[in-house]
């Protein structure tokens, strides 16, 4: 069933729900139940397909979960909750917005969103990278972890809501506030509540931080790390990294890796 490959998904409903060509596939997800869509992705994955475009995605959940190989997936539309949950290496680009819990407990791989994200981006994420072009919802990066070479990274182009980096135990969280006019002042409250590891780089000021957080200036090493991440971010969205880096960034780190060490009577 080799047919001519459609290169873009922005052409309305396709005649066939699955078109294959060499190592690529194009799926029209119209009316496909999430379980069937994910099962199709897994079967394409096991067949050795390397690149998949899915168009007309309307809220199908768990896209990217349980794929063994390092597939490249382009999603057109709005994927549902838990995009890339427990994901293990796929590289997803979303041409649209994502819903809640994008990158939930993600282990490895990358998600680039050309739009905004719901709550809980990168919940308990342990590896890989997530880039969100616009704003994100509440509790972004909650309980992100880090272990030796596994260091998860989230970059938010816009701003994020309350409890950003709550319980954060590792990893790097960057918030750029690119869509804010005038003085950059993020409206989130309780940023980094319960934080005990990792670091956040926030462009501009934060309205309210948790008790367990301290705000400092960036070290030389931080600046280098941040520069790399901002340049990578700008590469995906065709933005000017140098201009973004002109503004002051604040670094948020935990006061202690043992925030609740003295709560108990032994």
């Amino acid at each position: 069933m080799t047919r001519k490959m459609v290169t873009t998904c922005e052409k309305g409903k396709l005649a066939e729900s699955l078109i294959r060509k060499d190592k690529s596939a194009l799926i029209d997800a119209t009316g496909i139940y999430y379980r069937d869509l994910n099962s199709l992705l897994r079967s394409l994955d096991s067949e050795g397909i390397e690149k998949i475009q899915i168009c007309n995605v309307y809220g199908q959940r768990y896209i990217g979960t349980n794929l063994d190989n390092h597939l490249r997936i382009d999603i057109y539309g709005t994927p549902g909750n838990d995009l890339g949950a427990f994901m293990n290496g796929a590289n997803i680009t979303v041409h649209g917005n994502v819903q809640d819990a994008c990158g939930n407990t993600m282990d490895h791989g990358q998600i680039v969103v050309h739009g905004r994200a719901g709550d809980l981006v990168g919940h308990s994420m342990r590896g890989g990278k997530i880039f969100i072009r616009d704003d994100a919802g509440y509790r972004v990066g909650i309980h992100m972890k880090e272990y030796v070479s596994k260091r998860p990274i989230i970059v938010i182009g816009g701003t994020a809501q309350d409890f950003l980096g709550e319980y954060m135990a590792g990893g790097v969280l960057v918030v750029l506030g690119l869509n804010m006019k005038g003085e950059i002042r993020h409206n989130a409250r309780f940023v980094g509540t319960g934080m005990h590891g990792g670091k956040m780089f926030i462009r501009g000021e934060v309205r309210h931080v948790g008790e367990e957080v301290t705000i400092t200036d960036l070290t030389e090493e931080d600046t280098l790390l941040l520069k790399g991440l901002v340049e990578e971010f700008c590469g995906y969205y065709d933005l000017d990294a140098e201009k973004i880096l002109e503004n002051k960034f604040n670094k948020l780190i935990p006061v202690s890796s043992r925030p609740y060490g003295n709560l108990y009577a032994y």
Binding site: R35, N38, R42, R61, Y62, T65, N66, N81, D82, A85, F86, N88, D100, A101, N104, T105, D107, L120, H123, S124, R126, R139, I142, H143, K145, E146, Y147, K150, E166, Y167, A169, G170, G194, H196, G197, S257, R258, P259, Y260, G261, N262, L263, Y264, A265, Y266
Partner: protein, 504 residues
């Protein structure tokens, strides 16, 4: 500040028996015993003693006796020694009083007020030593009906696609205890015993140590709010996945493995830096509703290709029945209920002893609710929290459980004396510790034998009691409340338990 807290125990050493061998000094991890070289004598610091009985057990001449401190405050039914000591400790530290193991108050046990039936004359009893007895249990969602087809030559074949099931040779599994709260050698013992006995052990929320992946067919991997050690390989490794919402010893609150316990090995399995606190948030932050729970259940099913049952564990709380109904409707293959007497490695004592409800009531209410709603077959029910004998297991099954989880009993079989000091990380029995010097005290070969011995003993006892009732399959006891009668219970208690009064 001078502490006003009285030592709880007095260590007595019989000088005629003591040979000054210093075994007690080496065995005690709380520095209770010491040897004075100058005077060539043994000394005790009673204030350090937790009454774990390690020294008394290992003393070669039985020279040591540990007694409750006779210096009691004036007796008072309300202002007990425990209450007064707790207040003094809090005044001195300004902290939350921690404890370990399950609730130690006597007024919350119903098992002992339920009695099992036996056959006399009308229905012959069965001798399990000579006649087949079936304890095999399947955990998982059962279909509403079976579609069968007769095929020429092949006889009858099953057309219904069955949901994934766990096959248990005895209706007893080892409950969740994380690697970190208990030692690696205890995990090894549990994994080997579960494999030998044809049952399952639960990892708890601390991940699965690499060397234990080979026991995966007998492992239930837990996913809790901290998501420690949760990655695709871990989910693939287990035979089933358990989502931990709550724990009977501390309903509604999270966990906290102190940095001291996060050693090199623990940090590797949990995948967190060495020496940092491992915090498990109180809720799972991707679950704020039954719909969200469904989302995680199906995320885990997607992650494992619908090949493994997904359990959801909750603490037994006031409206457990309605919650369990939601859990079943959310797509769980099994509901785990953990009662107020369930154990813990560390919990605030105030929560452990005051929050939650007894497992017997929660179990009866949940089983009844699921039956009333016609969804009991859609999920198995597993009872946990304070199951201390084979009779408790059988009574739980009669109240509607498919199987039971045991943890405290398993640790007791390994040497635990329920001293309730698990939170110190200094367990002299080598159980609730990550200190390598103490961990060595559990030999996994011997540990596995002791645990398997316990499972075998309980299984034989269950068969004896079933045989006595003239029942030869555990399936016939399940939810069969007619085999129980209550004693010393009010009408309302009997009504909720769904059992009749003795003599009735």
């Amino acid at each position: 500040m001078k502490s006003y807290v009285c030592p709880e125990y007095i260590v007595e050493r019989d000088p005629d028996r003591c040979i000054r061998c210093k075994v007690c000094v080496n065995q005690c991890s709380y520095d209770t015993h010491c040897y004075d070289e100058e005077d060539d004598c043994m000394l005790s610091k009673s204030e350090n003693c937790v009454n774990c009985q390690r020294c008394a057990t290992f003393c070669p001449t039985q020279a040591i006796t540990i007694r409750p401190n006779p210096n009691h405050y004036r007796s008072n039914a309300n202002w007990t020694q425990e209450v007064l000591t707790g207040i003094k400790k809090q005044a001195e530290t300004g902290g939350v009083v921690l404890t370990g193991m399950g609730c130690d108050k006597p007024n919350l046990t119903y098992w002992d007020r339920l009695l099992i039936n036996a056959s006399q004359v009308t229905n012959p009893s069965i001798d399990p030593l000579r006649e087949p007895m079936e304890l095999r249990t399947y955990i998982g969602s059962k279909p509403d009906k079976l579609d069968l087809e007769t095929v020429k030559g092949d006889g009858i074949i099953l057309k219904t696609k069955l949901a994934p099931q766990l096959q248990l040779e005895t209706p007893i599994m080892f409950s969740a205890m994380s690697y970190g709260s208990i030692s690696i050698n205890v995990h090894k013992s549990l994994a080997r015993a579960a494999t030998e006995a044809g049952t399952f052990y639960n990892t708890g929320e601390g991940g699965l140590e690499k060397s234990l992946y080979k026991y995966g067919d007998h492992v239930i991997v837990q996913v809790a709010s901290g998501r420690f050690g949760v990655h695709p390989d871990y989910l693939d490794a287990g035979a089933a996945i358990e989502i931990k919402i709550g724990q009977g010893a501390k309903p509604g609150i999270g966990g906290h493995l102190p940095g001291e316990k996060v050693t090199e090995e623990i940090s590797k399995t949990r995948m967190i830096p060495l020496g940092t606190d491992a915090l498990s948030p109180a809720p799972q932050h991707d679950i704020y509703s039954i719909e969200d729970l469904r989302q995680l259940i199906y995320a885990l099913k997607e992650a494992t290709d619908y090949t493994k049952p997904v359990f959801v564990k909750i603490a037994a709380v006031h409206n457990a029945a309605a919650i369990a109904s939601g859990i079943v409707r959310a797509g769980a293959d099994a509901v785990v209920l953990d009662g107020i007497r369930g154990g813990t490695g560390a919990a605030p004592r105030i929560t452990r002893d005051n929050v939650g409800i007894p497992i017997e009531m929660a179990l009866a209410a949940v089983d009844q609710r699921l039956r009333d709603e016609g969804i009991r077959n859609k999920a198995s029910v597993i009872a946990a929290g304070g199951i201390k004998s084979s009779a408790d297991v059988l009574k739980a099954i009669a109240l509607g459980a498919d199987a039971c989880y045991i943890a405290t009993a398993a640790l007791v079989s390994l040497g635990c004396t329920v001293c309730q000091k698990c939170y110190t990380g200094k367990c002299p029995w080598g159980i609730a510790t990550t200190d390598l010097w103490l961990t060595k005290r559990i030999n996994p070969d011997i540990g596995a034998k002791r645990l398997a011995g316990l499972l075998r003993g309980w299984s034989l006892e269950i068969m004896e009691m079933m045989g006595g009732m003239g029942i030869n399959a555990i399936e016939s006891v399940r939810g069969n409340r007619l085999v129980l009668r209550g004693v010393g219970l009010t009408d309302k208690e009997l009504e909720i338990l769904g059992v009749r009064m003795v003599g009735d």
